[in-house]
């Protein structure tokens, strides 16, 4: 059983202009005092096509963590636009929050992110070169995808034999099941965005 349970992640400052920093308020609970820090990362998936456009926006150590319920705000700068393929700038992508303990990832939280122009004119005829100044980022906060992994909390990062401890593929996040009544508030989701997921 994981010693750390994520109880909630609140997405702050959402929706916001593309250039604003990401802010996640993370609440977690720890079963017993942790001798080492937790490492949290925010990864921005630049392109659905390939992992090579993944950007680690920031990584931060969190500690000391005594037994109890804790919260903190994880703020990270917006992605470097130069590293995003132009064709993928607008549309749906993913932002991931991961947490590792002793080098082992035990939770991965994924959010769908929709980047779109607020201006109706731009939306109709998007410029060839994305205008990041006009883009709005909307994180689908109500539908996080959480994947938990069993890790060895006692030992160091030596891998356990169990197959469930094998690190997941970075894009292991499953597509959101959109029940009819609970359609995400960001309009249509392009079919091709599913490919990466």
């Amino acid at each position: 059983m994981a010693k750390v349970q994520v109880l909630n992640v609140a997405v702050l400052d959402n929706p916001s202009p593309f250039g604003n920093p990401f802010q996640f308020e993370i609440t977690f609970e720890c079963m017993e005092d942790l001798p080492e820090d937790l490492e949290w990362k925010i990864i921005y998936v630049g392109s659905a096509e390939s992992e090579e456009y993944d950007q680690t926006l920031d990584s931060v150590l969190v500690g000391p963590v005594p037994a109890g319920r804790h919260m903190f705000v994880f703020q990270a700068d917006a992605p470097n636009t130069a590293l995003i393929p132009e064709s993928d700038a607008v549309g749906v992508t993913v932002v991931l929050i991961t947490c590792t303990y002793r080098g082992q990832e035990f939770i991965r939280i994924g959010y769908y992110v929709n980047n779109e122009y607020t201006d109706a004119e731009l939306r109709e005829n998007p410029p060839l070169k994305p205008d990041y100044g006009q883009l709005q980022r909307n994180i689908l906060a109500s539908n996080p995808r959480v994947t938990r992994f069993h890790i060895n909390w006692e030992g160091c990062s030596e891998k356990m034999e169990d197959s469930e401890n094998v690190d997941p593929a970075p894009n292991a996040m499953l597509p959101p099941s959109c029940p009819p009544g609970k359609a995400p508030p960001l309009g249509l989701m392009p079919d091709n965005s599913m490919d990466c997921l």
Partner: protein, 931 residues
């Protein structure tokens, strides 16, 4: 019989593999397949039992769901005390769950369901050892062990007191092990596997006792589970899938000789699950008819792959009821309510059914006492059963717990109302931290949180603690309980005893000071609810104060916890005008500062068990109420159903008792002694320093203070046996500390040190005497096995044995390995036996003195130590002719020496070499007797 299929008990239509009703009957758990994981759900029982509760929207149906298992959950089982839930699944794991007391409702983050969990069950341990799917788990009687079986062909016995410790792994099955059941008496555990066998294992040495294969030879491995069951009287074991004449049966195996002559026949497909009703029944006496003496009988439910369920009474040849087509798929698990009248059945088709029987149908359930009588008649008074008699007191507990449970929902609804104010997407955190709402904290969290850079330049955030866990409480309570229980050292080695202890500490934890109003407090001039209000109001005041002083320190403290924080200490006197001046600072008041012993921390409340026969419980509640500004602590004692309570003006640090007295040491260094019925026997004794350890035995009270001085009083005669004796002589020159202490029935104090040495203080000689040294070479090498008679082989019981513990048996083992020359070993054994004899003498332990004297005599007779033998006999006989100058004592430790001699003489007669000596003393003894 009433039958109900509650449609709302569903895991989204996925198969439900297991169901188990909580011992208190208020909830039940199901386990099965989840979305892409295993799923455990805890349900409220009330909507199943009562239609109005089912319709009432305010009565929650689902209490908690846990998605933590990575794959399908095959089994869920509540511990007998109801505190834990164990679950095992295809992910090879066993998880043990415990209810978290402090958290309100919340959702599982990231789960698709938006239903809030009404109760929070937290996984406290994860047990990893199996290399295949876990099929069944079972708690032993009294929750000493947890057993799990798996498709890896093994059964693992876990130490339920010390997870994740493994007691043993039972290997022997050659197929998937699919069912487990414990013998209710605690002597066996039985397992059934796909290898066409049912195996019974002994719990004493964890070896295979019997292997039953015949009824299973025709079976194919076609059932998902093979849940077998043991009858509550322990007489019958009923297997799952067995075959008789090519027909599926449930085989009945008699405990007596493991005979397999009977079976339950009639199901058309393999039997998957058998479950005995926990009650034993006797025939309902009808009005008018003459009361016939009838045999008590058991009731058993059998579920099968043929989707039907049969219920049998062992007094009837045919089933009581058979229900066909109850489900669309195989029955997977059955569970009875503790009262024996309700039953839940679950199926692979994802539904459950509830059956409600009446006493007219099943009969009159025997009460616990009658059940125990049956057990005692069959098995004698085994430990497990005496434990069960003690457990019957838990039935008295239940209404209290029930009351507590009823109070809780109230608290929860209020918190739910507050929670509604928060946005929907966040879990409903309702904590108010130091007067500041969570909302306010969250607004400024980014600015407030402490962020630093590590040496390598990385960002490091210190998270804000918004709630503390209550996980640490139990061990601390336990340790104190054990410390004051040291009188029971011998007994505490027996596992089930600990089980009881821990239950009681748990219970005391479960009743926080606020909820248990001291209604019995006779002298309270105030209305008790009034004083309760004060207790409740005061802490927030203190909290707000602290908040202004330290905005950064944001911690929610559980009400009623001992406040360790210095700032809190400062704030507290504001609320309570009376300042406690006697806060224990070990060593400060003691004259000899060099020696310090650990003084127990003051706890809000604790419960300890004293003595075994009769069992006595001491419950202490510090600051139980506030009367005219003064805080009153309460001591409650219950024994044999008789209770008394008393109040003390200072907080109680430690309490203990014997069959005759109860002693209590307070924070203000006073020691109070009460009679068995609660009468104060002495005015408070002022101790020279805070108490470290307190013991009682008969009318003797022993106090070990933090400044390492020892006192022993005889309360009956009101004299001091040991007066402020310093431990200097035994502690000096080494860095050893006091690890345990005890007081014998004769009032001899014993102090054990961390270096393995134990000393007792002889009040006659005024000396510390070494009675045990674990490093002593003599202990290691002494070999007197051939001097032990069959009745001695079990060893002696008494203070000496209690102090020496297992070293002795270990020494016997060691002696087998040692290759010391015979004459050396002879000398060592002689020295060791003499040491034992003198130790028993100084401990004033009559039985042990006699025990060792006989062994010693046998040894010197065997080895031919004539001088010693002669001296021994001479002392035992004494002068034959009376003379005034003789200082001979005719008795030793209450034994008449000449009687002892008469007992020793036959031993001497066994060696022909001592024929003369034998005749000599025999004649003299005869002369003395004739006089």
């Amino acid at each position: 019989m009433k039958l109900l299929k509650p449609s709302w008990v569903s895991q989204n239509g996925k198969p439900i593999f297991s169901v188990d009703i909580h011992p208190d009957g208020t909830k039940f758990a199901t386990g099965g397949q989840g979305e892409d994981s295993g799923k455990v759900v805890i349900w409220n029982m009330a909507p199943v039992l009562r239609e109005e509760d089912e319709k009432n929207e305010n009565v929650p149906k689902m209490l908690c769901q846990m998605d933590n298992h990575l794959a399908c959950v095959n089994c869920v089982r509540w511990s007998n005390n109801g505190l834990y839930l164990a679950s095992g699944g295809d992910d090879k794991l066993v998880m043990v769950w415990k209810k978290a007391a402090f958290i309100g409702p919340s959702t599982v983050f990231g789960s698709s369901s938006k239903l809030a969990n009404v109760e929070q069950w937290r996984c406290v341990t994860i047990l990893r050892n199996h290399t295949g799917d876990v099929m069944d788990v079972a708690w032993s009687p009294h929750d000493v062990w947890l057993a799990s079986c798996s498709v890896d062909n093994t059964i693992v016995i876990w130490n339920a007191r010390k997870f994740p410790e493994i007691v043993t792994t039972l290997k022997g099955h050659t197929g998937l092990v699919k069912g487990l059941t414990w013998d209710p008496v605690g002597k066996y555990i039985a397992s059934q596997a796909d290898d066409h066998s049912l195996k019974v294992w002994r719990t004493m040495d964890w070896q295979l006792d019997t292997n039953i294969t015949k009824p299973f030879s025709e079976c194919g491995g076609t059932t998902h589970v093979l849940r077998l069951s043991w009858s509550p009287d322990g007489q019958y074991l009923v297997s799952a899938h067995a075959m008789n004449n090519s027909g599926p049966t449930a085989q009945i195996i008699e405990r007596d000789g493991w005979k397999t002559n009977m079976d339950f026949v009639g199901h058309r497909k393999a039997v998957t699950v058998v479950k005995f009703n926990p009650k034993i029944f006797k025939k309902k006496q009808r009005n008018g008819s003459a009361p016939k003496p009838s045999c008590p009988y058991c009731c058993c439910a059998v579920g099968s792959k043929d989707r039907s369920l049969s219920v049998w009474l062992t007094s009837l040849k045919r089933p009581l009821v058979v229900i066909h087509d109850l489900f669309d798929k195989s029955i997977m698990d059955i569970t009875w309510t503790l009262n024996g009248l309700g039953m839940l059945v679950c199926s692979m088709d994802g539904t459950v059914a509830f059956l409600d029987f009446s006493q007219d149908e099943l009969g009159d359930p025997l009460n616990e006492e009658e059940k125990n009588t049956i057990h005692q008649n069959i098995y004698g008074k085994s430990l497990a059963i005496t434990m069960e008699t003690q457990l019957s007191s838990t039935i008295i507990e239940n209404p209290e717990m029930l009351k507590y449970q009823q109070e809780r929902p109230g608290a929860q609804t209020t918190s739910r109302v507050q929670g509604a104010g928060l946005e929907n997407q966040t879990p409903k955190l309702t904590n108010v931290v130091n007067g500041e709402s969570l909302e306010d904290i969250r607004k400024n969290l980014l600015k407030k949180q402490v962020e630093t850079r590590t040496a390598d330049g990385r960002r490091r955030i210190t998270p804000l603690c918004i709630a503390q866990l209550d996980t640490g409480g139990t061990p601390a309570l336990n340790s104190v309980g054990q410390k004051s229980n040291l009188l029971l050292t011998a007994a505490s080695k027996i596992e089930p005893m600990k089980a009881l202890d821990s239950r009681f500490t748990e219970r005391s934890k479960a009743t926080p000071g606020v909820t248990s109003a001291p209604v019995n407090l006779g002298i309270s001039p105030l209305d008790s609810s009034d004083s309760e209000d004060k207790v409740q109001k005061a802490p927030p005041l203190a909290k707000r104060k602290t908040d202004m002083e330290a905005a950064e320190v944001v911690e929610k403290r559980k009400k009623g916890r001992p406040r360790k924080d210095a700032k809190m200490m400062m704030a507290v006197p504001q609320a309570y005008p009376q300042v406690q001046d006697g806060s224990p600072k070990p060593g400060q008041t003691s004259p000899t500062i060099s020696l310090k012993l650990h003084a127990p921390a003051i706890q809000k409340s604790f419960t300890i068990q004293v003595g075994t026969d009769p069992v006595m419980y001491l419950e202490v509640e510090n600051d139980a109420s506030v009367v005219a500004g003064a805080r009153i602590s309460q001591l409650r004692c219950s024994r044999d159903g008789r209770e008394w309570d008393t109040v003390l003006p200072s907080r109680i640090a430690t309490a203990t008792g014997s069959s005759d007295v109860v002693a209590v040491a307070c924070e203000d260094r006073t020691l109070s002694v009460f009679s068995a019925c609660g009468r104060r026997l002495l005015p408070s004794i002022m101790l020279p320093a805070p108490i470290s350890t307190l013991h009682c035995s008969a009318f003797f009270v022993m106090a070990l203070t933090a400044s390492a001085t020892l006192s022993v009083w005889d309360v009956q005669k009101q004299v001091a046996l040991v007066k402020n004796e310093s431990l200097h002589s035994i502690l000096s020159g080494s860095d050893a500390t006091v690890s345990h202490s005890m007081l014998t029935d004769q009032g001899v104090p014993v102090v054990g040190l961390s270096n393995g040495k134990s000393f007792c203080f002889s009040s006659a000689m005024e000396t510390w005497n070494l009675i045990v040294d674990k490093q002593d070479a003599l202990v290691q090498c002494a070999d007197f096995r051939n001097c032990l008679s069959s009745q001695d082989a079990l060893g002696s019981t008494g203070p000496l044995a209690a102090t020496q513990g297992r070293t002795l048996s270990a020494s016997r083992l060691a002696s087998r390995l040692s290759s010391a020359p015979h004459h050396l070993q002879q000398g060592m054994t002689l020295a060791f036996l003499e040491q034992q004899l003198s130790s028993a003498l100084v401990l004033r332990s009559t039985a042990e003195y006699r025990h060792w004297l006989l062994i010693y005599t046998r040894f010197i007779v065997n080895e031919g130590y004539e001088q010693r033998l002669r001296e021994l006999c001479k002392d035992l006989l004494g002068p034959v002719h009376k003379s005034s100058s003789s200082s001979w004592e005719p008795t030793v430790l209450g034994l008449r020496k000449r009687d002892v001699l008469a007992e020793v003489l036959p031993v001497i007669g066994q060696n022909l070499r001592f024929q003369r000596l034998f005749t000599e003393y025999q004649d003299q003894l005869e002369i003395v007797r004739l006089k």
